[in-house]
Amino acid sequence: MAFAGRRDVPEPPDFGILKRLARDQLIYLLEQQHEVDKLYKVDSRPALSTSDQFCFLVRPRIKTMRYIADIVNADKMSGRSRKYKIIFSPQKFYACEMVLEEEGVFGDVTCDEWSFYLLPLDEDIISMELPEFFRDYFLEGDHRWINSVARALQLLNSLYGPFGKAYGIGRCAKMSYELWRDLEEESESDGQGRKPEIGNIFLMDRDMDYVTALCSQVVYEGLVDDTFRIKCGSVDFGPDVTSSDKSIKVLLNAQDKVFSQIRNEHFSSVFGFLSQKSRNLQAQYDRRRGMDIKQMKNFVSQELKGLKQEHRLLSLHIGACESIMKKKTKQDFQEMIKAEHSLLEGVDVRESTSFIEEHIDRQVSPIESLRLMCLLSITENGLIPKDYRSLKTQYLQSYGPEHLLTFHNLKRVGLLTEQAAGETLTAVESKVSKLVTDRAAGKITDAFNSLARKSNFRAISKKLGLIPRVDGEYDLKMPRDMAYVFSGAYIPLSCKIIEQVLERRGWLGLEEVVRLLNGNEFSVSDSTVEDNPTWESQRVILAVFLGGCTFSEIAALRFLGKERGCKFIFLTTAITNSARMMEAMIEAKA
């Protein structure tokens, strides 16, 4: 399995897991039929091999093509002849062939496509495993993956029948939806006329809500992702968790009986749950006493294995909790959460700014500092010029001048901006909305869109009531709303929008919010699908996140689903979190 390692993009999908998942389809074929002897990862070093055939499984990236071309040309120089096959996933791009041609190796390689679009990570999560989507689309203005999204939708449509209602917000959401409709029309697929299994689909661009993705996660699954990085639905627990000298790879999904019960819980209640669980487990073990031979035999053959498995998982999660506690119960983390909450609420901004400055000065963590700066900027509609300059200067002094380019990127996507001096907000807003509502402008690139974008977070937050009023303590064990995923301090904007639109069955009454979000909303009913409210499918919603979604958002919507008696299924270009988002923006020394 070979994915380009680029320091300035999010980590590639986990090698081992993908290999395992692909085995049935591709690797198996390769190994069985072609006797593949070794798998390498495409990285900066050429693979040393005496094999006379090379097969590359790659994303269609120009840089990867150059890597392959270098290998082929090096072989040619040394007079070695090999066969080369490139398998592009999910599709081949013309530009790739062009590069191969320019490098003079087009005739030496054969190309194939592996139309791999959907990777089910769990019972309700489907990932396209395209972490590069975020940078490619939102930063580089590259539309290449929109086609892949449309094809993924087409695939889902053919599997689960037509979606009765489609909602969405964001330019990419709109383009993906329209492209998908075109594909459907062209193919006249036989999915039509089928009884729909997914009644609603909601598409959302990541840039509609950066705030949520920038927050520290405090539900268990999110916290595990922030701390250990979940890759392709599995995590590597290191020695500090396993309390042995080796790491253990654990699949995290609904199959894990322990994990499935705590994944959506606020971290503060996880430890209590786990200790209760271990007491129960002990009690079940203890039943052995006083058993006769026959009962014992039954116990060993039927229950013991399950108990042991549960025991193993339990100790792993307890280990993970301890490790997280060690890191997160420190003073700094508490203070950071406090600062975050102040930013979300819009209080004590000066204090928070000083906190961030100190964070940078003390070189606590480059990624965290950057994240806090972005959070400050986006909640405040841009930094005031003085802070904008000083924070950036501090950051450059701490982490090196190459981040000048990082800041340029962040400005471009609207994550870290300066409040425009002399220009009132409304003037900018009207300029933007004019640009965006113009149909023709919709077709042109988003190269400009982010430059002019303002988050308007404060206004949106007020309009939608994202900061719950606190009267007394927020009971995190018995949450009353989605805010529990952020300790009761903030209802994730993305989830709130979805909730509101589903409730209103459209955007009616949300005009002001839509305007503040720069529009591009849509709501379409498929007239060919019978609108039968008794159908189970009406209660199923496919939530599509373009640019990634976080485990906190997933937890929040799962909670909403439970409250409203409906079920969310998630389709995302990749699972993301604040660190991945920041890393995608960082311009490293090449």
């Binding site: 120009i62 840089k63 150059r66 599709q91 791009f93 013309y94 530009a95 062009m98 590069v99 320019e102 580089e140 203005g141 590259d142 539309h143 290449r144 929109i146 086609n147 383009m175 329209e178 492209l179 075109d182 062209e186 006249e188 400055e357 100190e358 000065d361 003390r362 070189q363 300059r389 950036k392 200067t393 501090q394 450059l396 002094q397 701490s398 982490y399 090196g400 001048p401 190459e402 000048l404 380019l405 340029h408 077709k443 042109i444 690139t445 190269a447 311009e587 020394k589 090449a590």
Partner: protein, 694 residues
């Protein structure tokens, strides 16, 4: 009742045959068919006839004439033959006529005698000429086999995907074989040939002698062979009148027969006897006909499908009839009517007497939005006929903009193609056009074109970023994008190995940032240049790596190595904020374990970050002794925390009590252990109780 059987004649013991005429041939041929080259297409297709092929005298009146008749002898078309000497005629499965010349050129005509294209069977054939040729059909399509004057075989298995194969030599072959045939076995095309009493099999790599099973040893020399249409069966005829029938794989014999006639037959073919579905061989001499066969095995011939029937009607331009059949059979639109209309349109665009507007209009009138119609395919045909303008008009009717692109590119309407590609939303297609444009236009025009197409421009930039960095610079230069140019130079500076090169690149960046009026970036770049130069000096002075460190790390390293003066100098020169400098210095000193210097520093002036960090850093390095020195200097608000950190619970308790702060008291209490801190705990509990009383 005997009149029913009157015209039936016995054939062997069990079978009877009769002769009756199905229909009369409409043609009135004056020539003897013997003097013509003749080819009849399979499945009752057309018949091609070449008259006067053997040119004895070169008078114009006897110029060869190519005529094509329907199966019933209706003349479809005819043309005077002006090309070279023909050796063989044959039909393809799609009813194209192959005319094989003696120089190995094969000319292809449709059934209206309209020339389509030609190809050559290769140099070897050209040099040695064609002695004999055969047209054959396999699952790959129609093929051509040639026996050259040098007695070598050359063949092409599929004329639509021409790959010439020269077969291996037959050892000792000095004269043409008495007979030969092309066989297709296991998807490989092979040649079977007979020389005297020997039978040879030619495959791609070798020539081998074969003997059919059960062949009579006294059979004699082979004169004729026949292969069934599906290549399953083979019949061999020898000069003793002996006939062998069996599988073409030569694995099994069906039967043998010895006829009284021993002269070579004119024709020998396999046929299927009606009803009984028995295979048989029909052998024809000048005045005699013989049917041989007793096999009981069944063969299913593929019937002509309805699609092929429609194709044939379309080929004969009988469009209305074809459409009516479709309607009668209720074929789906895409399968039936659309396909026929598309063919009609492709024919229509060839009508040169009508204007582009008329043709385009007529086609659109008839086709409208019929599903399954591809306007781009029709347009492609128009372009092939040299009607570019018509093609463009037709493309306008194509609803899928992506489909228009390839043809537009082919017609060199690249800018139009670019617009359509962008409209389609298919990035890959846009890339295709952009890179096409890049090669087609000169650089200036190319850039100008991109300027008006932001989507394309951003894609091209992406391409350049990885593949042509210099072009990227040109692109930014063209639209005076100084900000991006600045970024470009900063980026390039990293790939410069030598420090002068790096400074140079940064200097360029600096200029651009100034032009972009980005003072912040300019200042940062200026600082970086300054830092780089300084780092070089440091590296030379201390023989330690300093290059590529951030300012913070540079100063920090200097302190770690005890170069306090130099650190101080950088602090002033780069206007490092006091707070940062204090954080940096105390943590570097603590790392170095230089507690003396730390204490000295703490007294140098009032700390801008307070004294709690001094306590914290000392504790972090497990030096409580030092930590205790700073605890009293911590501001009152933080003092409790400081005393707890250094482990002096008694003082912490006193501070908390002094503050009358319950939270602080609880905090200290939580740190107390019953065995050692009982007195402190008691003190706290008392104070707390007192506090609550009030």
């Amino acid at each position: 009742m005997d009149c029913y059987t009157a015209n039936w004649n016995p054939l062997g013991e069990e079978a009877f045959y009769r002769r009756f005429e199905l229909y009369t041939m409409e043609w009135s041929l004056k020539e003897d068919l013997r003097d013509c080259l003749v080819a009849a297409a399979p499945y009752g297709g057309p018949i091609a006839l070449m008259k006067n092929n053997v040119r004895k005298e070169k008078s114009p009146s006897t110029r060869p004439l190519l005529e094509i008749y329907s199966a019933s002898g209706l003349l479809l078309a005819s043309i005077p033959w002006k090309s070279g000497q023909l050796v063989q005629l044959g039909w393809t499965a799609s009813e194209d006529l192959l005319c094989i010349q003696d120089d190995g050129t094969v000319l292809i005509y449709n059934l209206f005698c309209e020339f389509k294209r030609h190809f050559s069977m290769g140099n070897e054939v050209l040099q040695n000429h064609v002695l004999e040729a055969k047209v054959f059909h396999t699952e790959y399509g129609t093929g051509v086999a040639i026996l050259t004057g040098a007695h070598r075989f050359s063949l092409a298995t599929n004329i639509d995907d021409l790959k010439l194969r020269r077969m291996p030599e037959v050892p000792g072959l000095q004269k043409p074989p008495s007979c030969w045939a092309v066989l297709s076995q296991d998807r490989v095309t092979i040649v079977l040939l007979a020389v005297g009493q020997e039978l040879y099999l030619l495959d791609n790599t070798s020539c081998s002698v074969v003997t059919p099973p059960g062949m009579s040893p006294s059979a004699g020399a082979y004169l004729h062979m026949a292969v069934s249409f599906n290549y399953r069966c083979l019949a061999l005829f020898t000069d003793t009148g002996y006939i062998w029938m069996g599988l073409a794989t030569l694995k099994e014999k069906f039967c043998e027969f010895t006829s009284s006639v021993r002269s070579p037959p004119k024709q020998m073919v396999w046929c299927l006897r009606p009803r009984s579905r028995q295979r048989a061989v029909v052998v024809a001499w000048d005045r005699q006909l013989m049917v041989v066969g007793n096999s009981t095995e069944c063969i299913q011939y593929k019937r002509l499908t309805i699609e092929v029937l429609l194709d044939r009607l379309v080929l004969r331009r009988l469009y209305p009839l074809a459409i009516r059949i479709c309607e009668y059979l209720r074929l789906s639109e895409i399968q039936g009517v659309s396909r026929i209309l598309a063919h009609w349109a492709c024919y229509k665009v060839q009508q040169k007497d009508k204007s582009d507007e008329e043709v385009a209009h007529a086609i659109n009138q008839k086709l409208g939005d019929t599903p399954g119609i591809s306007y781009s395919e029709i347009a492609a045909r128009a372009y092939d006929c040299g009607r570019t303008e018509l093609a463009i008009k037709l493309l306008e009717y194509e609803p899928r903009s992506g489909e228009q692109v390839p043809l537009l590119l082919k017609m060199k309407r690249s800018k139009l193609a670019l617009g359509k590609a962008i409209e389609s939303g298919d990035t890959d297609l846009v890339y295709t056009v952009v890179l096409h444009l890049k090669n087609e236009l000169n650089r200036g025009t190319f850039f100008m074109t991109l300027q008006n197409q932001p989507v394309a421009l951003s894609l091209y930039r992406q391409f350049c970023k990885h593949q042509e960095r210099e072009t990227l610079k040109d692109l930014y230069n063209q639209d005076d994008n100084h900000q991006e140019l600045g970024n470009f130079h900063v980026h390039s500076s990293y790939s410069e190995k030598r420090i002068e090169g790096r400074v140079g690149a940064l200097q360029n960046a600096l200029d651009e940032y100034y032009k972009a009026k980005n003072e912040f970036a300019a200042k940062a770049t200026e600082d970086q240049i300054k830092l780089l130069r300084l780092q070089r000096h440091l590296q030379e002075d201390f023989d330690k790596p300093y290059l590529d460190l951030s300012l913070h790390d540079t100063v920090s390293n200097l302190i770690l190595d005890g170069h306090h003066k130099r650190a101080e100098q950088l602090y002033r020169e780069f206007k490092i904020p006091d707070k940062r400098y204090w954080w940096l210095k105390i943590s570097a000193l603590a790392n170095r374990g230089d507690w003396e210097e730390l204490e000295k520093f703490s007294k140098s002036k009032k700390s801008p970050i307070g004294y709690l960090p001094f306590v914290e850093i000392s504790v972090k390095h497990h030096n409580r002794y030092e930590a205790k020195k700073y605890a009293p200097r911590v501001t009152p608000e933080q003092r409790v925390k400081a005393f707890v950190l250094v482990g002096d619970l008694d003082q912490a308790a006193d501070a908390a009590i002094e503050h009358k702060n319950e939270t602080e008291m609880n905090f200290v209490l939580s740190k107390c252990t019953a065995s050692t801190d009982a007195a402190v705990a008691e003190k706290l509990n008392r104070a707390r109780a007192q506090l609550l009383k009030k």
